[in-house]
Symmetry: C2
Subunit: 237 residues, 2 copies
Amino acid sequence: MVHGFTLSAPKLYGVSGGSIKKWFTSVIVNFKICASFGIYIILHAMYEIFQKYLDDKTELTQQESERIQSFAIIKKLRKRQYLLQEGDVWKYDAFITQGCVRTYTVDEKGGEHVNSFSIENWWTGDRESLMMQQPSRFNIDAIEDTELVLFTHENFEMLCREIPALNNIVNTILQRSFISAQNRIQASLTLTAEEKYLNFINKYPGFASRIPQTMIASYLGMTPETLSRIRKQTAKK
Amino acid sequence: MVHGFTLSAPKLYGVSGGSIKKWFTSVIVNFKICASFGIYIILHAMYEIFQKYLDDKTELTQQESERIQSFAIIKKLRKRQYLLQEGDVWKYDAFITQGCVRTYTVDEKGGEHVNSFSIENWWTGDRESLMMQQPSRFNIDAIEDTELVLFTHENFEMLCREIPALNNIVNTILQRSFISAQNRIQASLTLTAEEKYLNFINKYPGFASRIPQTMIASYLGMTPETLSRIRKQTAKK
DNA sequence: GTAAAAACTTGATCTGGATCAAGAGTTTGA
DNA sequence: TCAAACTCTTGATCCAGATCAAGTTTTTAC
């Protein structure tokens, strides 16, 4: 697959400019910088991950692929940087090419409740805010330095209408997301704290090593102390 | 809208034949009985509820409506009758025109855990079993005498491919289902038993009066005793 | 390199909701 | 119509996991 150099390069987008140190991980890279060959290679590699995801899921013509890429926005987040803050309206479809983010709420006492983790090759965002066009109750921030491919929802819907195969992917993702949410509800109703943890590491091996325990505890609906004790006990066995 | 009498009448389907007493609520009504005028009127009225649902959601041509209706299967369930039993593979898309069903699992100690309630104008079934073609972990049974419109998933997918408007409805339902599951997870992570109950009766007014408290308690992840005490306390206020 | 801030562990104590038990309605079915 | 089977209530007791507290290790930032 060969792309015209300037035409098919993804648009670039970031939130904060800043010091030279910040340059690599979070910066508005404008068109001129993009035209610098070294940078282009890097950004191109990022988009390739998303392209590979699409290719794995479905058959797209080269024209369709290029059409999709022409609307892609590449974004980088540094660790702890927000992708979405409570009160803002979420307007994107966002695919993670590298890294890890968490979606959480903050209660009136300041306690954080983790709703979900998303890593590379998953989607993230707040569908409720997106669909209902209402301020989000969630915060989303990066647990690690993270790279995403974003589409404004407007553009993404248009692409879905144009490209049925893309629409089918979205449908499938939604179904899987729903099934996975159902299973989580089921687990929360039926399992003990220890069973929830074992179920988690079994279902998501690898997560335990890259996500702080405090956040995993919150995701599982228990305190960090309880999780620490459970880990100690299960390590014995 | 005028239907040819025999051609557009929905197909009829039921699980158990049986005594004359059972006749009205659950019986295989075959074509000959269907041709009896009185019965036809009743069944026609049932399908009309689904037709109205479709008309509310989207614009269909008369031809599309008739095409959909030609694949509809009408099913009646008596109170306590199963729509799906654990271990069976679910193969339908099912819309409730009247009544109420519950989806639940049974743990190794025989305890029932209610995953969801569905009433008229909602869909029910087990999407995981349907999508993965695997035996269901869930049971679905009727809390009240219930009437449904079923489509085999094969037929329904074909209809979705033929009729984009129907596909859009399915998409929207999936999104709403997912959002609602997310909210339930959030509630289970953040709310106390009392708050869960108040949240429930606020979100689903009318459910409390038609669903036994034991089942509501199970749905909310608490014991019937706890729910009883909460109701006593909140009644005081 | 180092001070400050997070993250994790361990212990002591507390508590919301579970469990066990028993009585009072209410529904169901022959 | 009436016994059996559920459903709901109320009280007594128990326990899984929360909270509070303090020390240790790891990470972050200049």
